[in-house]
Structures are given as C-alpha cells and as structure tokens.
Assembly symmetry: D2
Homo-oligomer: 418 residues x 4
C-alpha cells in the first residue's frame, strides 16, 4: 500500500482507538449501558462492537494463534452480519448489563494488545494484503464514534432533567451573524463522479463513473436556525403543499412541529445539546431535522434539495475549507460558520435515494454486507458534521439514513435549477 507504512497505520490505529475512550471517560457505567430507543445503541455496545470488528475481520482470520477473548462476545457484539452468525437483537442491546463496563474495557485492551502484536510481526506483504481491512476498520470505528455521541445525546435528552453529557468547553462559540447566503452557479455537462485512486474509500463510493449534470446553483452555506425558525413561524408545519406525502402523514401522526431537541419556553426557543440545554443560537446551522423537514423547508424557500452528484461536483470545485470536526474536548454542536465551505457542522440531506453506482458490486464475504444491503429506503447525506472525526469524509463519501431519522446531526443546504 503506497500510502501507509506499518508505522503510519499503527499510529492511526492507536489514535482512532484512543478517541472513543476519551469520549467515554466522563460517563458512568449506567450512562453507557442503557438503550433509549431501537435506533440508538448503548455506549458500551459501541465499545464492544468496534473491538469485535477487529477481532472478526483482522485477528481471527489473519493473526496466527489468536485466541478469542470470550466466545459469547461474537453473539453480543455482531451488529448485522448475517454471515457471522446469530446475534443480540438490536432492540435488546440495552439488556446487556453483563458483561459489565469493566469487562468490555478489558476486551478492548485484549484486542488492542493483539493488534499491536500483529503489527509487531507483520511484514510489508502482510501490511499490503490487509491494508484495506485495516482502513475499513478505522473508518468503521470512526463512524461508531459519531454514533456513540448521537445515541448518547438521545439518551440524555430523554432524561427527566436533561443533564449535560459533557461540560461546556471554554471555547463555546457565541452567537454571531452568519455569512450572507450566496448562490454558487455551476454549468451542466458530463462529469466524473465516485471515488477514484488509491486512498481508502467505502465500496459504495465507486466505481468511478460519468454522469450528466444540468445547470444548477448551490447555496454558499447551510440553512441556519434563524432561517428555519422563520419557516416555523410562517406556518411551515401546517401547510401540506410543502410536504412529501409521507412527511405530512408523519407531521400529523407524530405531532412534529420543530426539530428534535427544540423546546419552546416562555423565554424563547431552547435547544438540547451534549453540553445541556441552552438558548437556540439563530446563527448556527439547523440540525436534527429529518429528510421531510429538509424537503419542506426547501419548498417553502422556493428552492430544492441538491442531488448527491451536484453536491459532489461542487465539493470538488470549492476552494474554501475551514471545516470543523469532532474534538472530544471541544464544542460538540454545530456553530456559526465563518467562510465555511461544503464540509462540516451538519450532514446535508440530498434528494438522492441511496442506491448502487453503475457497475457496483458488493465485496465477497461478510464484509460485503457493509453497505450494499441497505440500498433501499434511505437518502444520501454529504459533508460530515461537528461530531464526525477528522479526516473521515471526502467529496465522494456517501452517508445514508432513513427519511424519518432526526437523531443524527442532520441539516441542509439549498439548491436550485439554473
């Protein structure tokens, strides 16, 4: 592998593995054990599952003499890999009081030691052969670091007294004027898309291919809380003509009238964050809206959501880059964007249903279940958020969630036809 000597890989492994430990440090065993809804997993489960991934895809098949730490952990911490066997049902991940947190941390240490031993003995040929497995393991672990935080946030929001999961850092950003919203215009034509080259990317980012774009424009920044509030105050949640049919049904049935975590008080709107509840900052990008809300807002604003390829094309041609990423000691919430750019702060819904690129084939073996089997009923999101680990995303990166999901750090950027 051209890009990674063993030392570089090992250093990245150690850095990534350490990050979730920093996230878990301030939390109690109880905080890390409970599951507050089916979509969200307990922190302890994320800690166990990410170690299981290394055990299953690196250590067991490729580390001679590796002894499984505990045969039962394969049942507990397999997420959805049918090819790897039966597993704890997803809605029951919160029942795992045994093994306790300490046992799961011991499992992590065991796996880390074994991976370290594997690095010790690996020659260039082995590093080359397993470079992709290792890169996938790192990217996978980074994804679970973001989920660790979004799932924890949901749990804390359901607490009767909405405590902070993390203390506010010194550098909590003050409200400020967001930059003016400009429209960046793009010509139509046949352009390249998808991941190309030697760096790691997920299977679903390829193959590289060409596609046609018609002329379009993208907003220079994400929609802010203040703008979204205008939509609410203009009755946006009461006008069926703005909504997709499924979204309108959801608004009525679930009585949705604001983003998740917003709460209206006599003293104005407030918002729950990982640092506790605070007054809504009108200058920050709106987040925790589902696809239907994003789509309805865009319709209300006389615009639309971008296609995923429009977004990718723009990202390849945008010079700006001051994206802000997850910092375990920093501000774990979207903040006002300065010059901003295409990346960071909030995941941006596109109107592209998540599907296969032309010529896509899922890899062989269990790891082939990673992305392909979810190509139904979800929408692509681009750009990463303030909870996404650094160096995780790129222009071709395709995140995906079901349209009703609000608990991810999801916002939007407007698009329109030119």
């Amino acid at each position: 592998m051209a890009q990674s000597s063993g030392e570089t890989l090992r250093a990245r492994y150690e850095a990534v593995r350490a990050r979730i430990m920093a996230l878990a440090a301030p939390l109690s065993a109880e905080d890390l054990c409970v599951q507050a809804m089916e979509d969200a997993s307990p922190g302890k489960w994320h800690l166990g599952h990410t170690s299981w991934f290394w055990e299953t895809f690196l250590l067991k098949p490729h580390h001679p003499g590796y002894q499984a730490y505990d045969a039962r952990f394969n049942f507990l911490f397999n997420s959805y890999y049918e090819a790897v066997g039966a597993r704890q049902a997803r809605p029951e991940r919160g029942l795992i009081t045994r093994p306790g947190l300490e046992a799961v941390l011991a499992y992590r240490a065991h796996v880390d030691a074994a991976v370290s031993a594997w690095f010790d003995q690996a020659d260039e040929r082995q590093l080359e052969a397993l470079g992709r497995v290792i890169a996938t393991g790192l990217a996978h672990e980074e994804q679970h670091q973001e989920l660790f935080l979004t799932d924890l946030k949901y749990l804390f929001s359901r607490s009767a007294f909405a405590e902070a999961a993390y203390p506010s850092p010194h550098a909590a950003p003050a409200p400020a004027s967001p930059p003016a919203l400009d429209w960046m215009a793009f010509e139509g034509g046949v352009f390249p898309f998808g991941h190309d080259g030697q760096d790691f990317a997920f299977d679903n980012e390829g193959p590289a291919h060409e596609a046609v774009l018609t002329p379009f424009a993208l907003a220079s920044r994400a929609v802010t809380n203040g703008e979204y509030l205008e939509f609410i105050e203009d009755g946006g949640y009461r006008q069926p003509g703005l909504w997709l049919a499924d979204g309108w049904a959801l608004v009525q049935q679930a009585e949705r009238s604001a983003p998740l975590y917003w709460r209206k008080t006599d003293a104005g709107w407030r918002e729950f964050t990982l640092h506790g509840e605070r007054a809504l900052d009108p200058s920050a990008p709106v987040c925790h809206i589902d696809y239907f809300e994003a789509s309805a807002y865009a319709a209300w604003a006389g615009a639309r959501l971008p296609e995923e390829r429009e977004w990718e094309h723009a990202a390849r041609h945008d010079g700006r880059d001051d994206a802000r990423w997850m910092d375990p000691d920093g501000w774990l919430h979207p903040a006002v964007q300065g010059q901003a750019g295409m990346f960071g702060e909030v995941w941006q819904w596109t109107r592209s249903a998540y599907g296969a690129y032309p010529g896509y084939r899922a890899p062989q073996g269990a790891i082939g279940e990673y992305n392909g089997k979810f190509m139904c009923g979800q929408f692509v999101l681009k750009g990463g958020s303030a909870l996404t680990p650094p160096e995780h995303v790129r222009a071709s990166y395709r995140n995906f969630f079901p349209p009703a999901a609000q608990w991810q750090m999801t916002g939007l950027r407007l698009a329109r036809d030119s």
Copy 2:
C-alpha cells in the same frame, strides 16, 4: 391540440368510462363495498372517485352553471388532494355503505351527462385549453381500472372460499414452453430520456433530458413461475445473503415464503387468479412479488434488476411488440409470452428509486399533487401488465409502488453489466 379533435376526445372519454362499468357488471353491491386492507379500495369507491375527478378538475372550474351532484361526495371521493379539502380516511373507505351502489352509479351518470353537455358546447379553443386536463382524467381513470382489479383480487383472495371474480374466458391460455431467455446487449453512452413531444404524458415523465448509460444487457423476457419456483426450491427465502436488509426482516417477520396468492398443496402449487384458483402455470411470468423478492431472485440468478433508464432505452430500441392488455372479457392474468417484447403481462420492478428528473417541477394547483409528493420510498416499475388498459403505457411511463407491495401485478426482468 393537434392529436385530438373534440370528436376523438369524446369517443375516448366514452370508451374509457364504459370499461370500468363492464368490469363492475358481474359483481354484487357487497363485492364492491368492502375494503379488505388499507392499501386496497372498494370497487364502489373507485367508481365514485373517478367521477369526482371529472367533477373537480373539469366540470366545477370549466363548465358554466354546473351543479355539484351532492356536496358530500367531495368528502367521500377525494383520494389525497390536500388542496381540495378534508376527506374520508383511506382505511375507512370500506365504511361507505351509504351512498349505496345505485347512488354512486347515478352520480357517474350525472357526471357523464354533464361532460357530454360540456363537449356539446366546447369550441376548439376550449378543447385546446382543456385538452391536457381531459387527457389526464382519462389516464387517471385507466390507472383506477387496473387498481379496481388488483384491489378486487385481494378481497376475493381473502374470502374463505376463494371464488372467481370473473368467469374463465373461452380463451384461457394453456401452459406452454416459454421462449428461451436471451440477453440483449446495449452499448454505453449519453442518451436521451424522458417524455418529449406533443402526446400526453404525466408530469413525472419529464422534462426530457440526457443521461449516461454504461454497457449493459437485458433479458429478452420476464422471469417465469417455473424459474421462480427453482429459486424457492433452492432455499432462496432462507439465504439472507440474497436479500436487502429490509427485505430479509420482512421475510422473517411476515413469514413470506412465496409470491402472494401462491398456495402449496399436496397436489402441487396453486395460484389464485381473478378467475379462481388454478394450478400454477410454470410458463407464465411470475407476478405478485415485491421489490425485495425481485431483488433476491436477481441476486440468486447472478444478475440484477435494471435501472429505469436502461429499461426505457431498451424499450425505445426493441422492435418486438405483441403486448397483451386488459380485456374485460379476456384472460385477466399473465400468460406465457410468445415473441413478447418489453411491454405487457407484468409490471417490471427496476432498482431505481422513484424521484424527480432534472428540472422537474410539479404543476400548479391541486393537480400538482398527482405525482410529485410521492417521491420518497418507492421504486419505479416499467412496462404495464395484463390488467393495464390498452394504449396506457409508453417507454417513458413511470409507475411506482413501495418495495413491500405484493398486491399489484408485479414481476421482473433480469439485467446485468456488460
């Protein structure tokens, strides 16, 4: 309108309106009143709703002095047009015992007389101005004719004794060898898509636009019952690796193990049709499978489902054309295809999520709710079925249903990358 003088339009109106009356003729008031599941509407409701469409979009706004037949019918027979007001909840369409069938037929006659009177007085300018509304009304009515039959079939299938809704016609086809399955190969390139020209098409078929295809091949005919049976017998419903994640969950939870309406008996597989239950015909195209089943079959066969644009491109270049369409006096079920072609017998699932074409905008007004608001969570189907009225579909036609739907006459045609 170039293609339709008033006389031609009126003749089409009369022919289309007569067809559903022929379908309803052999049925009792009870058969036409009951709703057997939320997705399926009673026949009487289809009879009322299609008349309501003409009243709402032609007569009330454009026929001076038109008197609404009964103000309450706007509530009962509005399907989903938020802009036209409140309406009978969809799962409660079966509660409409009043008005009775005779009253709804009187409503039809009233609307027909008024439309006839409108034609009597319409000049060329009016015909020109309203030609698109009328063509939409006709296409809409044809869609409900197919739904009339699929919904009725579901109701009859739930009857304890699975009676025939319609007598078997003399010309019931005998099992025969299906034509051999060939692969039709297509080059890649930039090609035109979407509807263009003066003939009627739905809003979602446009705008015409260009897109890139990569080289692919399509099967020369649809998958047959016999082929699908091999998939079942090979354990297709028990191998998670063949299924999309949502499909595998559905197979387990709903205990699906065969197409809707199939029943295994000691004497072999049987299939419920609008002409009653009969032995499964292995030579006929498989139907009543959902998107997940189509996708799993394709994976089992080492192939995939086509993209909607692949299908459209192929249909524009296929010389064969002996499609068989709905005939109220004929065989209301897929039959073995002779030379066949791209159209007819069964709707064919594509792997394209139903969404907007580049530059698509929904029309203004209530009629703008026709297609656009459903662009979430559904997949495109192409080609039409043995229950589709003649002259209804075309290469650009985009039908769409949710992936779990089985009660439509849905099958598949295989595709693969070249």
Copy 3:
C-alpha cells in the same frame, strides 16, 4: 317440559325468528355486509350465525336425514365454538361478500323449513328432551337481535354523514322531567340468589345459592343524560381521583371526554341514535358509557355501583314494572322513565366481576362454551335495555361485557351503603 307444548314453542320460534327479519328489512345488502370494528359483526353475519346455531345444535344432531345447506357455512358462521371446528376470524367477518345477502336469507329459509318439519314430527318425548336446546336457541337469537342493532348503530355512526338506520317512529318521546331520584333501602341478611325453578335460564344464572348482603340502598331510577352532563361540566373527565387506574389511562390515551355518540356543537350537545342525530335529551337515561365512566360518575356523586346480588335482590322485591323493550317499529333508544322500575331502557353496570356461582359447572359438549369460558375480565350488567327483546331478561339474568365497552346500550343506577 311443563311450560311448553309443541304449539307454544313453535309459535315462539316463529315470532323470534321473524323479528330480526323486520330489523333487516329497511337496510341494504351493503349495510348488512360491512364490519366497522372488531367487536361488532355485520348484520348478515348475525343472520347467518343465528341460523347456524339451529342447524348445529338442533337439526344436525336431532333431525333425522337433515342435509346441511352448505358445508362451508359451518366455517363462516361459527362464532367461537372451538369444539365445532375452525371458523372465520372474528375481525374478518366483514370480508364475507360471498355468500351474498340473498344466499344467507335462503339459508335462513332452509333452516326454518327444516325446523318446521322437525316440529311436525316431534312427539312429546322429543319436545321434552330438546326443550332446553330450543329455549337456548331462542334466547341466543334474542341476544343477537340486540347485537344486530348495537353493531349496526356503530357502523352508521362511522358513516361520514350519520344517516338514520331507521325512520323515526311517530311516537318519538318528547323530553320531559325525569322522576325524582329516591333511595330504596334494603336490610342486610342471608338471601337466596340465582335462578331456581323450571323456566329457562342460562347456565351462568345458577346454581341457586345463598349469600350475605349488608344493608344498602339503590337509586329508584337510572342516571340521566342531564345528570351525567353535570359530571362532565364539573370536570369529571379531568379528575384522576374519581377513576379506576385502567379507566384513567384509557381516558388519557383514547381522549375520551363524553359517552360514545355524543358530539358537542355550537348549538349544544347532540347524540347519535338509530334514528339519526338529535339534540341530547337531558331527561333520558345516559347510555353508551363504559364501566370506568359509570364508576367515575358514581364516585363523583358520592355513591358507588351496586353489587350484582344487590340488584337482583332489589329486583325481586320491586313492585314497579313498566319496562319498555325492543319494538322494531318503535323508538329504539332510551327514553325518560315514568314510574320505571328495575328493568329496561339501559343495561346497568354492576361492580361485580363476572364469575362462577358456587357449584357452577359448564354443560357438557360444545354448548358448554356458551358462558363459562368468558369468566375473566368482564363485569356483570343487569336489567336489559330499550334494544332488548321482550321477555328476554329476568332478575337472575347476567349480561357481561369488558369494562372498556361503550357500544352496548349501557348506563348505570347508583347504590350506597346504608
């Protein structure tokens, strides 16, 4: 059987069987086919089921040479007798569009002819031997006549336009002052209860037995709409302290705030009846309240619901008797009571859970499933209603329904400890 010669029995059979035909006469096949909720059965099903009862318990076992009308009807019209075989699922009784109404009426005529032929040939010994089966069949049929009306009423109430099921009779009662509410006091002691003697009674009314009563008082009449309205206006539905825990949960979850069929309009409260909607009559007994509402009202009024044995004891000692019963041509709704008595107008909830009397044993055979297997989770009601056929109830009669049921004609009479 001492009390019934063949002629008397046959005359009663003919009168009872004719009554439901009179109830069905003004209704359409559609009205009689649809099922509006799981608890309520279609009218056509009641017509079929009551005939099935005679076929199953009299004709098949006791009429030599009897030919079953249609073997499939045993599946369709068995209600819940496990011992008689599989049956149409209760929530799917509305799917029976085939057989149509005419076929079910032909079935009735066939059964009636066969029963008539049986009477022609029956000697005294046979009449004696089967007298109890016949009396049970008659009582069963009368029960279904009341259900026919309550189920139909529910269906019509769900219609968008709340039509009358039956025209208002000439003698529709005008509002009037109800008689003053007096308290009838009773001494304590050991008293006899349960049915004794030769007349027909259901198995659950016996054995006759003794039990202790402590001194109590009963109200001289049922609670009226006007009185119940005071409870509503005093915030009765908002005070948890008045409610049983399950009732309070239901009030909050189902958002109950008035009896079923009441509707508040700008012009005051209105009530849906079998004769259409009309202004609420404050003088008539309140009806269509569930057990929880009856219990909460009693608590609000500083009283309680009676024990079933208190009611029975009072009924045996009450000289008043001008009960009003179901008259197919009369007023099918509770009306102001004159001198009244213990019986008629509304079924009266007691606080006695429905269970076995000391020494109770269910009869052998399928007919043993009639009452005993429901002795869990239901409460006893006494007295009969304006929809109960004449001569059907008696002091020992025990009706029973689950506590949340509102669609029966249920009201209450207050009790208190002396």
Copy 4:
C-alpha cells in the same frame, strides 16, 4: 398503638430498610439501572421509590423542618400517585441513568437519617398518630423487596447468557418426593372474613364481614413441577376446552407452551432461577404460571381454583405452619414442601376477581390510591412466596395481579366442590 413502642417500630424500620441493601449488594450499577419490560422496574428505582415513600408520607408532612433531598426526586420516584403530581412514565424508568446508583444510595441514607431523627423526637402521641403510616411504609417496602427480586430475575433471564444474580447458597435443596396430595374438606355455612383487630392490615383486607361458603375441599399442598409437566405432556396447551377464552387466545398468539423460565433441552427441561439455570426439580411447586395456566391445569385435573374466601377460611383453620420466606442469603426459589401448610413457596391464584369488600372505602388523601383504584381486571392471590419477606402476609392478605402476568412467583393449589 398497642403493638409497637417507639423502639420496636424503629427496630423494624431498620431491619426492613437493611434487607433490600443486602439484596442489592452483589449487583452492579448496570444490573440495577436497566428495565427489561414495562411491568418490571429497575432495582435502582425500587431503592429510590421506597425512600420517596417515607419522604412523602412521613417526613414532609410530619417532620418539622425536613428539607427535601432533591426536589426532582419526587418526579422520578413517584410510582402512580396522581395526587402527588407528575412522574416518570412507567416504561421509562430504565432511562434514569442520572441520578446514578451512588446518588440514590445517598438519598436512602439521607431519608434514613431523617427518619431516625424523627424517631428521636417522637413522643407516644406522635407514635400513636403515625403508627399506621409507618406500618404501611414497612409493608410497602416489603412488597418492593419481592418486586426487586422478580424484576431482577426477569432482567437476568433476558440476558444472552442467563447468569446467576445470586450465588447458590450452601443449603440449595435437593429434589425429594413431595408429600402426597390430600384433600382437606370443609363444611359450608356463614363465616367471618377480612381483617379484624389492631394489627396492621391493608385497607383492602377490610372491613371484616360475613359471607356464605358452600361445602368444598382444598388440596393439602401446591401443584408441583412434576404434576404440571404431566399436563404439558398430555397436550394441555393444545386443548382449547381447558382454557378460558382470553387464555386460549394468549396461548396461540404468544405461543406459550410452558411456564415462564422453563426451557426444553435435549437433556430435559431446565428452569431459570435467581441462582442461574438448573435442571427442573419435579418435586418443587410449579411457579411463574399465569392465571390462565393455573385455571387450565385445574380443569385438566378435574378440579378448579379456590375462591379467595375458601382459601382464607382454610388458612384460619390449618394447624400446619412451616412456611419458608425470603432470606437474602438463602435459596431464592420454591422448594419441595415438607409438612407445608397454606403459606409460602408460591403465591396461589384464586378464581376471585379483585374487588371491594362490602363497605370498603379507600382512605382519604394520596395514600387512598394504594389499593382501591386497581379493583378491575385482576385476580386475588394468597399465601406468599419464597421471595416474600417474613411476617408480611396473613390469612386476610390479598395480593393481586392481572391474569396474564407470569413474572411473579405464582403457582396454584387445587380446590373442588364437596
């Protein structure tokens, strides 16, 4: 209060309060935090709720100058007292990761110190005045000690690997022959029932009253696992004629075929206990069966369940008494009964629906919600179990649970008419 000087009361308070601490000692914070189903509460919640009870009913109203420990705990730890304000929804008790276990234990210590201070200053008059509140608090705490164990057992049973919650004590009983089943015959007559006298009893045990019993017989001991296994092996779960209608529906829908916690293996039946899974002991009383299973077993055995007054009458006249009660260091599961008696090992279902005794009135104030509002839809159980604290039950004690509940330690004793 005659029976309790301050010192005696205080000693009982300290003993009762200490017992649950002993039960919690071997468990982790995670074990005590998670809620595995709606009916079962987390151990931490039981620890908090029992302290809240003392704070709410003794300290706040009666301890001058008492400072609430944390105003928010009134929300978290109120169970169902509407009069005491809003509260954590029951199905969300498992979301309470904050306050953590240590904070809840600190709350316990705070309450204990305040109660101790209250005892220090209480004179005889105060002890007299509040004796009933204190006795209620002790009985309430004992009830929650049993629930602590049954709820914990359910959680551990849902763990993937069914660990022991408590180590097996040395004295784990070995299987042995149960005593022969004899029938104890009782005469009929008018007898006294309900609690009378000065000792503490719950409000629902009174008033004392007379009632009639008809001659009956009771089994000398509870039904054993071995006997229940015969019922299973004889097809008891497949014979609808043995079951109440609601029970048969549950058997089919929930696919019940054995008591909760039983598991059939190739090596025979096994049973999950608080000491882990072990081979089923045929000599021990069957437990974790619901009312429907108890009722069906009795029908299969040609017997019936007792009336609650039959049981009470027998208990007053039974000389045997070697009941075994909850011992935190002992065997926390039913064991073979020696001479046995009416009490201990398993709660015994009666066929009496839980309702009010003649003349019953709920006490005034919030504490009046303790028992009365549950008098609907539940059945009375008698006798106490191996998880019931010592000195908690008596002949008049009325436990009650819904008929479908299996997670309590519930079994049965047969009765029959003489």
